[in-house]
Symmetry: C2
Subunit: 321 residues, 2 copies
């Protein structure tokens, strides 16, 4: 039994809790949150603690799942945790990844712990696909497409605009670009040629819709480099038609000589559930490799798939060879 | 520089030789063949030796690539090699895999060597996809489809029939079954419901075509469990229209709750080239992990993707996270 601590009780934390409750290989020690523990209630009877209390549980938790909301939180918290806990996180800021891995690695090595970073689907499964494809197809052209699906980061960026009550943003791959990637001809495509962005926005009564639209489409990095559509909808319509968190994506590799292609595609009706499933599988791998004396920060590429299985399982990785 | 020995000079051996010739990270020591070495000529000036001579090269070869034609040859040869060489093979008889791995493991451990078994696309990349998908989607329904592509084994089985001069067999997935797999509803489908078989046969003049057709479609294991079509063609037509060795396939996983799917698809105009590219990438991983004191028989699931890269490469696996 792997004794788990879950840090953060957002969508991913809740999904990890659900999996732990139905999977007999885990025991959930508690959920550590920045909210008031006494105000929280779990359908599974889980105990809640203040986030800072995690540090008194270092003897009771085999693996700490870092499920706090924002990448900033993860970036600050995990290196502190890593000195005293084995961790699994889904840190997803690609641009900061190398510094983050280095910081977690230093902490984990100083504390003799094993920390898995960037464990989700991108980064995560897609990272592994990209690295694998590039190697086996001899420096193939490798492209990633996201969507159609809801981007939390982009939705949140819209919500921060004055006069916006709520919003949902879909990232949508452009079919011509996907087709070009399959022919190995997408390397030179711009962001605008590869994806477009669809925004559904609930505005406050009397807000200047034109101003909001302009603030969205001109927002640097998030929207300016893309063709972006903005539709204003009622709160009810947003809930009804855009209440879910579906996502999808694919990694496409085409060999330099053109005749070979590899494609890894993912689709989910619940992005946080998918991420949680991946984190929970790798929590098991973490416990196995820690027992084999692996230490430091590992990305998903450093972890053999066979570590996802152990002797007590009904199946082993070799059953799939 | 990794010093390579290639055992066998069929399609895969030749493809490995081509990659070694253009990739500066390898030095090809020689090709070891059952044919007369003096009768062979290489476009790259490679030296040829009798297959049995490999055993006098144990100090000169870092990794031996086992590229002999049939699974029987690999099954007999690799355990003997494994006592004295690090090896990479693409042994592909799923039913014998566990015994084979055990035999290679015992030999490799006794000789202090590292041997990678079943390194191709199936077994190989598809094995890894199946094991990964099953773990991260919590015991998902996982299905594999092959084709449309040429099956060497089935083509060969037809060629053994009396009165057949040459033949090519295509394995073809059935679209309705692929669609069912994406919905997680393909677990109960029969072989016949998942694939059909298309045969193009060159018959000897005067041969009884009906008898040949019956021998094909009734052949146990190979064809009887499938809907099989047989077309007789001229030798010229076979060369012209069916001269290549294209193949394709996909692994489809659907989460138990139905909302999640993962799909890994491959397509190649040259099956042996694809397999050779994978074997060569893993030959590099073999050298890296051997240097890190890994010993015994490894399947692809035991090998982290990061081992496909080393410090001298332009990229590392972390560049893809």
């Amino acid at each position: 039994m792997i004794r788990l601590g879950i840090i953060g009780y957002g969508n991913i934390g809740r999904a990890c809790e659900r999996i732990a409750a139905r999977d007999g290989r885990f025991r959930l020690v508690g959920i550590f949150t920045r909210r008031d523990p006494s105000a929280l209630d779990s359908p599974f009877g889980t105990k809640f603690f203040r986030q800072s209390e995690i540090f008194s549980f270092s003897d009771d938790v085999d693996v700490a799942l870092v499920c706090t909301g924002s990448a900033n939180d993860v970036e600050n918290l995990t290196p502190r945790l890593a000195e005293r806990f084995n961790t699994v996180d889904s840190f997803d800021t690609h641009a900061k990844m190398k510094d983050y891995v280095a910081a977690v690695n230093e902490a984990a090595l100083s504390g003799g712990k094993l920390c898995f970073v960037g464990i989700g689907w991108d980064p995560g499964l897609f990272s592994m696909a990209r690295a694998l494809f590039y190697a086996v197809l001899e420096c193939a052209s490798v492209q990633t497409f996201w969507g159609r699906g809801v981007s939390q980061g982009h939705s949140e960026a819209i919500r921060r605009i004055d006069g916006v009550l709520d919003a949902r943003q879909y990232t949508v791959p452009i079919p011509e670009a996907v087709a070009a990637a399959k022919r190995g001809e997408a390397d030179a495509l711009s962001d605008r040629q590869k994806h477009r962005r669809e925004c559904y926005v609930v505005a406050a009564e009397g807000a200047d819709l034109n101003r909001i639209r302009q603030e969205i489409v001109q927002m640097p990095n998030y929207f300016a480099p893309y063709d972006t559509s903005v539709r204003f909808v009622s709160r009810e319509q947003l809930e009804r038609e855009h209440g879910g968190m579906p996502h999808a994506g694919q990694v496409i590799a085409c060999g330099r000589e053109g005749g070979d292609s590899l494609n890894f595609a993912l689709s989910t009706t619940s992005n946080p559930d998918m991420t949680a499933g991946i984190m929970m599988a790798y929590a098991r791998a973490n416990a196995h490799l820690y027992a084999e004396n692996c230490r430091g920060a590992y990305t998903i590429c450093d972890i053999p798939v066979s570590a996802l299985y152990d002797d007590g399982d009904k199946k082993s990785a070799r059953d799939f060879v």
